[in-house]
Point group: C2
Chain length 345, copies 2
């Protein structure tokens, strides 16, 4: 029998500076939704595992001009999750199916439109929790940028910024599995060591390397075919100076430019003309828009295969119970996690 109440995590106060605190969240009990509340083409779902990701920090802030919508005060926080279908009025999804919701609610049960979820199946050798682990949003971000925009060819050189991050480490492993020469950039020796362990051919520390354009030239003497950029600004500029003909630049993030207060502080890109000279392509994308793409099931299939073959390594840090989700978010910012954080409902 379905439970008569649910637990949910609400945002109590916007996090305007510093790390989030437990008191910024409300853990609330509420009446459970029932299947007779379903309208046409809706599903009643029970989340099994929630993904917790660093980009949620931006969504706790209440800032409106970001490219990702802020959470709203007094409403449930949301993120990528995997859930079991309890009831459905959609012809494509039935009771017992498994779905992912790329922007699902931190609630133990909720109703949503069928078009907001993706039906998935657990392939042999994989587990349900992998959908918020190795198959989670940062991995899809890495896959989409690397394959759909980057169109990598064996033997090409890819440069990856924030190479030790959730997206970067997947980019470098996917690129390596594809036969590319991989250059990883990160900001500490510890991170670079990890990046090397994951298979990067060459690494450098952007904080200590001196002139960035020269550092890239040294790391990629034959030039850069693909730049997977998570940081923007000066590193992007230096990468543009090192592009090969027909290079692809994937703009996935611009973290160096996010917390800038005045227009004067914005870094001015000087090597834009190289996009012409090198006949290059620079493309931005935001993964939240791309879950209705055929590339999502393609990603699930291909990355599952690579993972089972041992070509991709992935660590997770599992926390039990939705009530511990606020603490899981805090741990992420205090550096207490090791590997991808997931919360079991």
């Amino acid at each position: 029998m379905a439970p008569s109440t649910i637990t949910r995590i609400l945002l109590k106060d916007y996090v305007t500076s510093g790390y989030p605190k437990l008191s910024d969240f409300n853990i609330e009990t509420a009446p459970a939704p029932t299947k007779d509340q379903l309208k046409v083409n809706q599903v009643l779902i029970q989340p099994l595992y929630f993904s917790v990701d660093p980009y949620q920090r931006g969504r706790l802030s209440g800032v409106k001009d970001s490219y990702v919508e802020s959470y709203k005060k007094g409403e449930p926080i949301t993120n990528f999750l995997v859930a079991k279908v309890l009831a459905s009025t959609s012809k494509d999804i039935k009771e017992g199916d498994l779905v992912t919701d790329h922007d699902g609610k931190f609630e133990t049960m909720y109703i949503t439109d069928a078009k907001h979820v993706n039906k998935v199946t657990v392939s042999d050798g994989m587990e349900i929790r992998d959908f918020v682990g190795v198959l989670s949003m940062p991995s899809y971000t890495a896959y989409y940028g690397t394959f759909v925009i980057g169109k990598p060819k064996a033997g090409e050189t890819i440069l990856v910024s924030s190479a030790s991050g959730a997206v970067g480490q997947m980019v470098l492993q996917l690129a390596k599995a594809q036969g590319l020469n991989v250059i990883g950039v990160a900001g500490s020796d510890e991170k670079l060591e990890y990046v090397k362990q994951l298979g990067a051919d060459t690494v450098f520390n952007y904080k200590t390397c001196g002139n960035l354009t020269e550092a890239i030239r040294k790391a990629a003497p034959n030039g850069v075919d693909i730049f997977y950029d998570n940081v923007g600004g000066e590193l992007l500029d230096a990468a543009l100076a090192n592009l090969n003909d027909y290079a692809r630049v994937i703009i996935c993030g611009a973290i160096s430019q996010y917390n800038i207060k005045s227009a004067d502080e914005i870094y001015g890109i000087k090597n834009m003309t190289n996009v012409l000279v090198r006949k290059a392509k620079v493309e931005g994308f935001i993964i939240l828009d791309l879950f209705d793409s055929p590339h999502y099931p393609e990603f699930v299939e291909k990355v599952s295969k690579l993972y089972k073959e041992g070509k991709i390594k992935y660590k997770t840090d599992e926390i039990d119970g939705i009530s511990n989700a606020p603490q899981a978010i805090l741990n992420l910012f205090e550096g207490k996690n090791f590997g991808k954080t997931i919360v079991k409902a």
Copy 2:
């Protein structure tokens, strides 16, 4: 019978500053090539019409770091031309065929590899000279950028810089024929008047409009879906600030950044992060690389049709005789031409 001598135009001296002079060229008579000199997969061709274009100025300079190769001192100048095939050892091209050569020699007869030329046919209502007129390289540049990179949809807004130039005026007419809202930018009222006559919906003078970002916002209150850029620098930056979601930015030229002496003078692009926020695509291309693309015959077909339907207006200024080619080049820089310059061999 084939003539025993040919006439050709050689570059005598690099043009390092100011306009070219007649004395920078040599008009030479040389022995004619013969068909028994043909190697495998070559053609002996007789140019009928030569295209003369402003970008040739850069090729006269001897500068090596440009994206287009400089002409070499003592060698024939080259450009787009249409020619008759006199003899061929290629199975795809036969005597009497018509071909275009996107980088053909200013000679009355020459041998080249068959892969360097494109076989073309004159469709009903068109003339041979149209291949260096309305169907010439600047038009293909406009077509390729607008359609292949821009993927325009009726109702979208396109912003075109250097809108009165050979490329810009074709972009705006192609976009207008496709049902787009067209905004033309140019640097004089006379040019803007011409741009309006060709069908631009809105125009502004970048020299007198004040703040460029505001000027674009006013001209495109619903945002820019496609920016066809011929100038780079500040106007590109202002356009990036006005992009709509999924906008396409076509980097065709960066004339504002070409004659810069020191790195300090290079304009720094501040709105690069908008490529991420707007999920935009910025792509550079160089048309000289794109004549073996299936888009070239597609361009010839589509633009011929639009021209015959009267949807594209095109003016040419025809000069007779290859010996007058140097003067035709001079006229172009002294502003004596009106319309596209072509030279009849």
